[in-house]
């Protein structure tokens, strides 16, 4: 009997211990789900801060993208910086949220203010992030704050193991470069382990100079200029399209002066037309006039410094028409001005040109660069409203037209075809810009274009 009782007691004890182990196992699994703090590739969004488990508020969220492709989310800059102290060798980049626009962006581009306002009371975080210095200073003035150094370090050093490739890209201050700007702002390039430096330039001549002295590895250019640049030393190749016109958004167009009753391009015979400097503008001007049946010698072509000048002359009525380019074509459309000719049904795009030496020395970097630009273009096409603030700030749009300026639709993974470049090449030959016939494969390199199905949204844009 005594033995029976002992055995019974032992069984109860064992059952009890097994039960508590089961409870712990269940609790552990459920607890993990409840306190979801980070994501691996393809996983859901994090719900809580990776440092202390505080619920995330998207307005103050900080995200870290790690070298192994996983991410960590933090409730505040306070938590992120504390976590960073022990994880300096893992982080590729941090994104912070601009308190004005709600956009998350690369922390290295941010302006930080410490003020009386507490963002996340749980951790008493008083550090605020802004994408623009003006907004940061405004907040500082309003809430007794001061600009502080970047809390993640002034010189954010990516881990050695990450092995970033470097590229320097020349970009005009035009909407065409928006995917490039977004990829830096978000930061899509960093997510692809790419360190991209942007060198702004104005006009084809400056692009040629920068390519020639090796200051840049790549440049965004109009197609005619790009073909010309690719055939002169240092040799380069077109590796992707940037911006293509569409039935709603022309890139190049001849617009009649609002002060004159010109309805048709044929009416430009004997009239003056302002054309900005550069081989591309000349190509489009001649193409439109020729297509409209207007002999070139019957038009007074007034070569002007840039598109802004052509616009001014048009508005002032000093010329009968002007050849405009985006963003001025959109402004003209918004003002219901009369387009005498434009490229809405044409297929010529602006393109990305990369030097031959960059293709040979860092093909991997070029490949990642093209892929990242595709991701950026996709993000812009899918969420144009979300990113229009970058267009407004860095799209080269004149002050008064920024608010209603439409976000263009970008080419995700495409390259000019032989049929598309042929008329341009013929014109360049005819005008003597090219000495001899060129082979398509020499100027266009298709090896870097990814399969469009492989291009998805980057984590930072998801």
């Amino acid at each position: 009997m005594k033995d029976m009782a002992k055995r019974k007691r032992l069984i109860i004890i064992i059952i009890g211990l097994v039960a508590v182990a089961a409870i712990a196992l269940l609790g552990g699994v459920l607890g993990k789900k409840k306190a979801r703090v980070g994501t691996g590739e393809g996983e859901e969004t994090a719900l809580r801060c990776s440092y202390d488990g505080t619920k995330l508020n998207p307005v103050y969220q900080v995200d870290a993208f790690l070298d192994d492709g996983s991410t960590r989310s933090f409730c505040s800059i306070y938590c992120a910086t504390r976590w960073f102290e022990d994880n300096k060798d893992k982080v590729i980049y941090f994104t912070v949220v601009d308190e004005v626009t709600g956009q998350n962006f690369d922390s290295t581009l941010g302006y930080f203010v410490e003020s009386d306002v507490i963002t996340v009371p749980e951790v008493k975080n008083r550090v605020h992030a802004f994408a623009s210095k003006e907004d940061a200073l405004k907040h500082a003035r309003q809430f007794n704050g001061k600009l502080i150094e970047n809390p993640f370090g002034e010189a954010f050093v990516v881990p050695k193991i990450a092995q970033f490739d470097r590229l320097t890209v020349g970009a005009p201050l035009l909407p065409d470069a928006l995917p490039l700007r977004l990829a830096i702002f978000k930061p899509i390039f960093k997510e692809n382990k790419l360190d991209v430096k942007v060198v702004p330039f104005d006009g084809e001549m400056e692009a040629k100079r920068l390519l020639a002295d090796g200051s840049i590895d790549a440049a965004i250019s109009n197609l005619p200029a790009a073909i010309l640049l690719s055939t002169t030393s240092p040799y380069a190749q077109i590796i992707r399209n940037m911006l293509r016109p569409n039935p709603y958004e022309p890139i190049f167009g001849i617009v009649a002066s609002p002060k004159l009753p010109i309805q048709d391009i044929a009416e430009l015979a004997g009239q003056s037309i302002a054309v900005p400097k550069g081989v591309s503008f000349r190509f489009y001007a001649e193409y439109y006039l020729k297509s409209g049946g207007v002999p070139l010698e019957r038009v007074v072509i007034k070569e002007v410094e840039d598109v802004a000048k052509a616009w001014d002359l048009l508005i002032e009525g000093e010329v009968s028409a002007s050849l405009l380019r985006t963003p001025f074509t959109e402004i003209a459309m918004a003002k219901n001005m009369n387009f005498l000719a434009d490229d809405r049904i044409l297929t010529w795009t602006s393109v990305l040109l990369v030097t031959q030496s960059a293709i040979e020395k860092k093909p991997k970097a070029v490949e990642k660069f093209v892929f990242a630009l595709g991701q950026s273009a996709l993000a812009l096409n899918l969420k144009p409203r979300e990113y229009r603030v970058i267009l407004e700030q860095k799209g080269g749009i004149p002050e008064g037209a920024r608010k209603d300026f439409p976000v263009p639709t970008f080419e995700v993974a495409n390259i000019p075809t032989q049929d598309e470049i042929q008329p341009v090449v013929e014109w360049l030959l005819e005008k003597g810009f090219l000495g001899q016939e060129i082979i398509y494969e020499d100027i266009v390199n298709i090896q870097f274009i990814p399969n469009p199905n492989d291009v998805g949204l980057a984590f930072c844009c998801g």
Binding site: G27, V29, D52, G53, E122
Partner: protein
């Protein structure tokens, strides 16, 4: 005051305990003094008669007070959403910092005393002549004083915590580099303190379980070696040390791992994110308390009449303690493996 079912229950229990234990404490002190002075059987019988009601009230109220400790934390947890900046109980404790701190210190003491008194009372009830009546009444008056203070603090706290108070929570205190729970072990154990604590936890717990098992084996009725009380006292001290080590290890090593937040050292957050760890901690508290109760029972309850019963009680308490420690360790280990 934040009104919800928890706070109303807590306030109600606090008020009832305050009144009844105030009365019971004073009466039991009077009766204890009368018991001491009584020289005849009649006088003692009279005291016994008068003590029936007070003992009955004490059993009910103190039984409820035993449950009040977890209820207290459940109430604080229910306030989290009403306090701006609170992400766990820690945030709520920051609203009335001093009162809450005193309350949190007094609660385990009250829990221990209440448990001990109930055990002494049960032991005394099993005897024919109530040899422990005098000590029991005296112990009750001391326990009542602590419970009154605890109840008073509960009521004050419930009334004082106002919704919408802005505070900062645990991260700013428990995760800073110069937190005492990090500095002390680091200074004494060196930079590898975390792994020493991790191993130390298991070594200490297993050792305690072995000592308790050995003591159970050596505890024989009708043989009361002189060294037994010293050994019981030593085991109690060891259990206390083990408790301190457990708390330290939980804060510094295990809680961050179990939560999956390697830099967060808040036990309140642990309860929140992994609620079954409350059970794990409860097992540990009960195991440690049982060791202390055994010692106190031996200290207060050993008389000629209780010897046999007492050894049986000690044996049961140590058995219960072993089960609790092992259960706590099993839960902790499962969590660490699953983390």
């Amino acid at each position: 005051m934040i009104l919800n079912v928890f706070s109303i229950t807590e306030t109600f229990i606090g008020l009832i305990s305050l009144i009844l234990m105030g009365w019971a404490g004073l009466l039991s002190l009077t009766l204890a003094l009368r018991w001491k002075r009584a020289s005849t059987v009649e006088e003692r019988s009279e005291v016994e008669k008068r003590s029936h009601l007070v003992l009955m009230v004490a059993v009910v109220v103190l039984g409820i007070r035993l449950l009040n400790w977890p209820l207290f934390y459940a109430t604080l947890q229910s306030f989290v959403s009403d306090i701006d900046g609170a992400m766990c109980i820690f945030g709520v404790t920051q609203v009335k910092r001093v009162v809450t701190r005193i309350s949190e210190i007094i609660k385990p003491i009250a829990f221990f005393l209440v448990g001990a008194w109930l055990l002494i009372h049960i032991l005394d009830q099993k005897t024919q002549t109530s040899p422990l009546m005098g000590r029991k009444l005296l112990f009750l008056s001391a326990t009542a004083a602590v419970v009154v203070a605890e109840s008073l603090l509960d009521v004050v706290l419930m009334l004082k915590i106002a919704p919408g108070t802005l505070i900062s929570c645990c991260t700013t205190v428990t995760d800073i580099l110069d937190r005492p729970t990090r500095l002390v072990p680091k200074a004494t154990l060196g930079p590898a303190y975390a792994s020493i604590l991790g191993y130390g936890y298991y070594v200490s717990n297993i050792l305690l379980v072995l000592i308790l098992g050995l003591s159970m084996w050596r505890l024989r009725p009708k043989s009361y070696p002189r060294w037994q009380r010293t050994v019981l006292g030593f085991i109690s001290l060891f259990a206390l040390f083990n408790g301190a080590l457990f708390v330290l290890t939980q804060i510094e090593v295990h809680a961050p791992k179990i939560m999956g937040l390697p830099f967060h050292h808040c036990l309140y957050c642990l309860w929140q994110y992994v609620p079954d760890t409350i059970l794990m901690h409860l097992f540990f508290v009960l195991g440690t308390s049982a060791v202390g109760w055994a010692f106190l029972l031996d200290l207060v309850g050993r008389t000629g009449e209780t010897t046999d019963l007492l050894d049986k009680y000690l044996w049961m308490l140590y058995g219960f303690s072993i089960f609790c420690f092992v259960a706590s360790m099993v839960m902790n280990t499962v969590h660490l493996v699953a983390a």
